[in-house]
């Protein structure tokens, strides 16, 4: 079966971002960009399913600026077969992303659609669920285990109280949690090979979707800073501070 994996280009997880002085957003000039960590886990899962013989082809799609090609190439170096870049320089909301992905799914007809559970920049945690709704397909969100059996997939999900297992009819959407797997590193020969793999470029208009969003970001601010704390020298001093200064115990 065919698997479609959506990946997003985001600021690297280890970068501490700074809010722009004019409060229009965060400053991303000269900041290291990477594949969103959850998307990387989705790619890895698809590659593992291919290695098991469940999946025959992996198509990776990204929606974003021209530079998102780099992230598609990274996914190809990990094992994806071909790529689709839906190029847009504009800001685009989760609902619009889901609508574009619906167009890609209708064209490619994958049985498994893998996404990360959330992007570490907007922290929305929406696209997979929205795509499920638009396609009328089942959704296994926050997956920590995926087992494909015939025309069904069993997904173990991380929920607040522990774990829940659901069975979905294929085609289905799976969004990955951190514990699903540990992504491999791309070996140099695979990075070289990835350069030759096919990559199509499309536009949101090709899927009949306009960019933008009905949510407008009015302002982006730095969070309130905590006042500087103090180092205590002993347990006695700590207990005294907690009891008499902070009054929390």
């Amino acid at each position: 079966m065919k698997a479609l994996v959506a990946v997003k280009r985001v600021v690297d997880a280890n970068v501490k971002v700074r809010v722009k002085p004019d409060n229009s957003g965060v400053d991303l000039t000269n900041v290291k960009m990477s594949i969103n960590p959850f998307c990387e886990i989705a790619v890895e899962e698809a590659v593992r399913l291919k290695e098991k013989g469940t999946v025959s082809e992996i198509v990776v799609v990204s929606i974003g600026p021209k530079e998102a090609q780099e992230q598609i190439r990274s996914a190809m170096a990990l094992g994806a077969d071909r790529g689709i870049l839906v190029e847009t320089a504009d800001e685009i909301g989760a609902l619009e992303v889901a609508k574009i992905l619906k167009g890609v799914v209708e064209q490619e007809q994958p049985q498994l659609i893998l996404l990360g559970k959330q992007a570490i920049d907007d922290d929305s945690n929406q696209v997979g669920q929205m795509l499920g709704a638009l396609l009328g397909a089942g959704q296994g969100t926050f997956a920590s285990e995926v087992k494909v059996e015939g025309d069904k997939v069993q997904v173990t999900r991380e929920i607040d109280g522990g774990l829940q297992t659901v069975e979905l009819t294929l085609p289905a959407i799976i969004t990955t949690d951190l514990r699903l797997n540990e992504p491999r590193y791309a070996a140099l020969p695979n990075i070289m090979k990835a350069r030759k793999k096919p990559l199509d470029t499309k536009s949101p208009g090709d899927y009949g979707v306009a960019t933008g969003s009905k949510l407008k970001t009015v302002k982006v601010e730095a969070p309130a800073e905590r006042k500087a704390g103090v180092q205590v020298k002993s347990v006695d001093e700590l207990v005294d501070k907690l009891k008499n200064e902070a009054k929390v115990i």
């Binding site: 989760a94 709704a133 115990i249």
Partner: protein, 310 residues
């Protein structure tokens, strides 16, 4: 303004997170209806009817809603939600699973993790792991959003007297099935609602040591227990105890971080705590920058000493 709040529950009792969502709904202002979608959930509806500020409770009782499967509940929420100006749920795994699906069925955008209500269509939410706060304005006909519980003080669970009405059920979508559940049992307070949280990280060394060192402290303080991702990945404790960007967001009165370095992703889950204490052997640990009090020392001797002195 008419607001539909999706109740969080286990078919037996209303989850406290719903009280925080009702508090956020009150900040928007208007009539508040609570939807209880479940199976054999009359008791939950009765409880929801007593919640202060609620004017009506809708009970959709059907086997299809027994396990809160998103495919079935989102269909119901989209169907019932059409007549409301706002649809809100808690930013729990259940709320985050269901609500975006319902929003897409209604063809509207959604706002995740609301931490402040500026006006009925303007909200604040954290982005970049809490390193920036975005003010977002919605021009959708229906505002759909999840509410971060720790940002709103819960309304009273008693004092209301709303009427309970049966809602039309939309049945089983037939594309998903509940198989099983593995719920971690604990005598301790729930992590997201606890007044005090004691958390351990990689520094505690092992699962055995986590319990040996941190259980007595949590017991003494009546605290919930949490962990960093490193501690969860190393198998010290189950993943539902993880505090951080990808785990639970907590904001207790007191957060005690033991053997936790303080990665960006962990800080995202606890830096709104009122008082933060860090116990770490590393003087340079990033956690110290957000801690109100930090103590440099070996947690294996410091924590037992702390237990004996409080």
């Amino acid at each position: 303004m008419s607001i539909l709040v999706i109740a969080e529950h286990d078919n037996k009792a209303l989850n406290g997170a719903t009280l925080n969502v009702v508090a956020a709904a009150q900040k928007i202002g208007g009539d508040i209806t609570v939807l209880v979608a479940g199976s054999g959930a009359q008791a939950v509806a009765d409880q929801a009817a007593k919640v202060a500020g609620v004017s009506k409770v809708l009970l959709a009782d059907d086997a299809a809603y027994a396990n809160q499967l998103a495919e079935n509940v989102a269909k119901l929420v989209a169907e019932l939600g059409k007549g409301y100006s706002h649809i809100l749920a808690a930013s729990t795994t259940t709320g985050k699973n269901i609500l975006p699906r319902a929003a897409a069925l209604l063809d509207v955008s959604m706002i995740t993790d609301i931490i402040a209500v500026d006006s009925p269509n303007t909200f604040k939410r954290p982005i970049y792991a809490g390193n920036a706060i975005a003010t977002v304005e919605s021009s959708e006909a229906i505002v759909v959003g999840t509410v971060r519980g720790t940002a709103f003080d819960p309304v009273a669970a008693e004092g209301g007297s709303a009427a309970v009405e049966a809602a039309t059920v939309t049945g089983d979508a037939g594309i998903s099935k509940f198989v099983s559940e593995e719920i971690v049992k604990s005598e301790r307070p729930e992590l997201t609602a606890a007044r005090i949280v004691v958390s351990g990280g990689r520094g505690v060394g092992s699962g055995e040591n986590y319990h040996k060192v941190l259980d007595p402290l949590a017991d003494k303080l009546g605290a919930a227990q949490g962990a960093s991702r490193a501690a969860v990945d190393a198998g010290f404790v189950p993943n539902d105890m993880q505090v951080g960007q990808t785990g639970k967001i907590v904001a207790p009165d007191l957060y005690i971080a033991v053997g936790i370095s303080g990665a960006i992703q962990h800080l995202a889950g606890m830096k709104d705590s009122k008082v933060i204490v860090a116990i770490n052997k590393d003087e340079e640990a990033p956690i110290n920058a957000v801690a109100d009090y930090w103590l440099v020392g070996d947690l294996n001797t410091v924590v037992p000493e702390l237990v004996s002195k409080i």
